[in-house]
Symmetry: C2
Subunit: 406 residues, 2 copies
């Protein structure tokens, strides 16, 4: 296990009707004037924003608002939010929405306290040393941004999708009412499930040894999505399924399942470029890129792919039972798994096929062409990743050749 | 899933040599004079206390010290710590040790800021509204107190072992260097493993529905202890095993695996009374009481016991494969599990037997007589629990009859 610091100070207030606590939570963290950041009107139409405004006013807080955040959120609206924040003297930024609203709110919180250009944080010219406090009322289970230290923003100029990480961007609180996700359309539910699984899988494939506990935790979250997402699609109002998915989305990305292991975020990187070029939904893009990345990566080391096939996808190992009995031989190989590489690879490929079938069963795209991607764009996409100049380390090193093959 | 608040603000600094960061961590949380609380000399002999003192002085901090904390820590030393803290003007309490040192440090931190008798917190006469900040340098993986809101102290007068819970008692930071646990004697390692498993199992058996995710997380931690504890016993210097166990110990008790589910802490309650009466080690007491509790509780609902048998102990379900394929039928019963109650019960009992075999393989006691407990003390033990007057709710209601039977 690698050395690590785990720090997740967010207060998660989870359950039915918790959005009515928003005002007292903001006040408890010292807010006087709250900037509400929201999306394209669904929170207004559902009545959620009215509840949140009422709760804030009931706690004696002033309000200003920024709405219209789009999927794959951009820098233009974020900059407008920073100006609004300064002009109004807001001292707390509250996201009401999903990952796009939260990531925009985080960028505003950092930018409002920074003398330079906010994009400096995203292109790594500057580190965040100060930020306004951020709170969240979550409406979609997907991004995990409610518990993460990360904001991902697309710069309109130059089609650049980039991220910033800082402990200062971790929300002070996140209100998580699964009822707010009941009735979400099937497409958004499915994209959210793919996003959550990707956050786990990008932690799962590691070169770190002795990761028994976090392996198991990753598998726990994957099994949960495997079992609960179909329930939420079959009955959009299934509270239990929505609750499990919502909490899984947070755990998938506050690093509970990734502490102490090297991680590989290159498939997310590739997905960002595809989303930027084709405007495809983040979760749908991941549904296409992840299996492709896995089919390429399995030749680096088939063991974790075989383990995943057995433990999560229930594929019988080596003609024996489908059970992983939880034991491991001294080399760390799970008992029940075959010993030779070819058999491990075959098992792993069957797991990847099961994963693709699962994603397809959720109604997600399974091929690059489904995203509108064209073969002739591949050189341009590879160029956008910049891996030709700077190959990216990970489970395997992503260079131009690998990116092209994927 | 039940509504819940999850809040775990502790900064966990995990890995090799992290104890050298203790000074800068204390200083970062505003300390000027630190009260070091430690046990019966092992941290002095190992040189750890010298390292910690050096780190604190290097950060410009003053030091005062309280040593001699015993297992099942008592109120007398805690009260002495409170006086010392006040007399010296310490503004930060640092535990260097395991659960006993941490729980004593937490009690001192709360008591130092309280005008009344510190026992008021433990007998629920008063709630903690203020406390000095607490930090931890952990030397044993067991109690999970490094990430919990809880302090358990035994009052000498009247043989009372009682607990207090407060967000204010959550440590600001916990330094967790698995190397400090390498070389721990087999007995302490085994008792720690039993304590960690008990913290999970007391969350596992629940009457809450729709707990797929936390079921899986509980099983992940149990599988980890099942696989890693024997490695640590076979090779006390196995860093990977020690690291997995240490991090599992934290996750088992900061409520990561218990969020949103009703819990049953009655077996811990019974264990406290046994430890108080016979002075038995907490983990060893749990190794005896837990299986006994389970054998009684299985008649309340055999399903979770059968699920545990299959998923954690690898017992084949219903003559089929030992695999749990991760699916569940609409009634929430795991596929692969038998449908009738008698078969579920049989399966569950085989799981409990496997658990007992596992505990025995770690060298732990398996019967009440191993603890020195006598049949004629049963009425006295039952009377100490107070359940005759106030039966305790849980997975099943613990009344005098149930306590006696267990």
């Amino acid at each position: 296990m690698d050395d690590f610091v785990f720090y997740s100070p967010t207060r998660f207030v989870f359950g039915r009707g918790t959005e009515t606590q928003t005002g007292s939570l903001c006040a408890g963290y010292g807010a006087h004037k709250v900037l509400i950041v929201s999306g394209q009107g669904s929170a207004e139409r559902s009545g959620l924003l009215a509840v949140v405004r009422g709760s804030l006013r009931g706690a004696g807080l002033e309000i200003c608002e920024l709405s219209g955040v789009e999927p794959n959120p951009g820098d233009v609206l974020m900059r407008r939010g920073i100006e609004l924040c300064r002009g109004e003297g807001a001292d707390f930024v509250l996201a009401v929405g999903g990952g796009s609203a939260i990531d925009t709110a985080k960028g505003i919180a950092a930018g409002a306290r920074y003398g330079g250009d906010v994009w400096d944080f995203y292109c790594k010219k500057a580190a965040v040393t100060e930020a306004l406090p951020v709170g969240v009322v979550l409406t979609i289970a997907a991004s995990g941004s409610e518990g993460s230290d990360c904001s991902v923003i697309t710069r309109k100029e130059g089609h650049l999708k980039r991220s910033v990480h800082s402990d200062l961007l971790k929300p002070r609180f996140a209100v998580m009412d699964p009822q707010l996700t009941c009735g979400l359309p099937a497409w958004q539910t499915a994209c959210g499930a793919a996003d959550i699984m990707s956050h786990v899988l990008e932690r799962y494939f590691t070169n770190t040894k002795d990761t028994e506990l976090t392996d198991r935790l990753c598998e726990a979250v994957l099994l949960t999505i495997k079992n609960e997402a179909p329930k939420a699609l079959a009955d959009p109002d299934d509270y239990g399924a929505r609750a499990n998915i919502m909490w899984a989305g947070m755990l998938a990305h506050n690093n509970t399942v990734g502490a102490g292991r090297s991680q590989d975020w290159n498939s997310h990187k590739l997905a960002h470029e595809l989303s930027t070029l084709y405007g495809s939904t983040h979760g749908a893009t991941l549904a296409v890129i992840l299996p492709a990345w896995m089919e390429y990566a399995i030749d680096r080391d088939p063991l974790p792919f075989a383990r995943l096939a057995v433990r999560v996808w229930g594929i019988p190992a080596d003609g024996r039972s489908g059970a992983d009995d939880g034991n491991a031989d001294p080399a760390g190989r799970s008992c029940g798994l075959p010993a030779d590489r070819t058999a491990l690879r075959d098992l792993g490929l069957r797991g990847i096929a099961a994963f693709k079938d699962f994603l397809a069963s959720l109604g997600l795209p399974t091929s690059f062409s489904d995203l509108g991607a064209k073969a002739e764009d591949i050189p341009r996409l590879v160029a956008m990743t910049g891996v030709a100049q700077a190959p990216k380390p990970g489970f395997f090193t992503l260079d131009a050749q690998a990116a092209e093959a994927i």
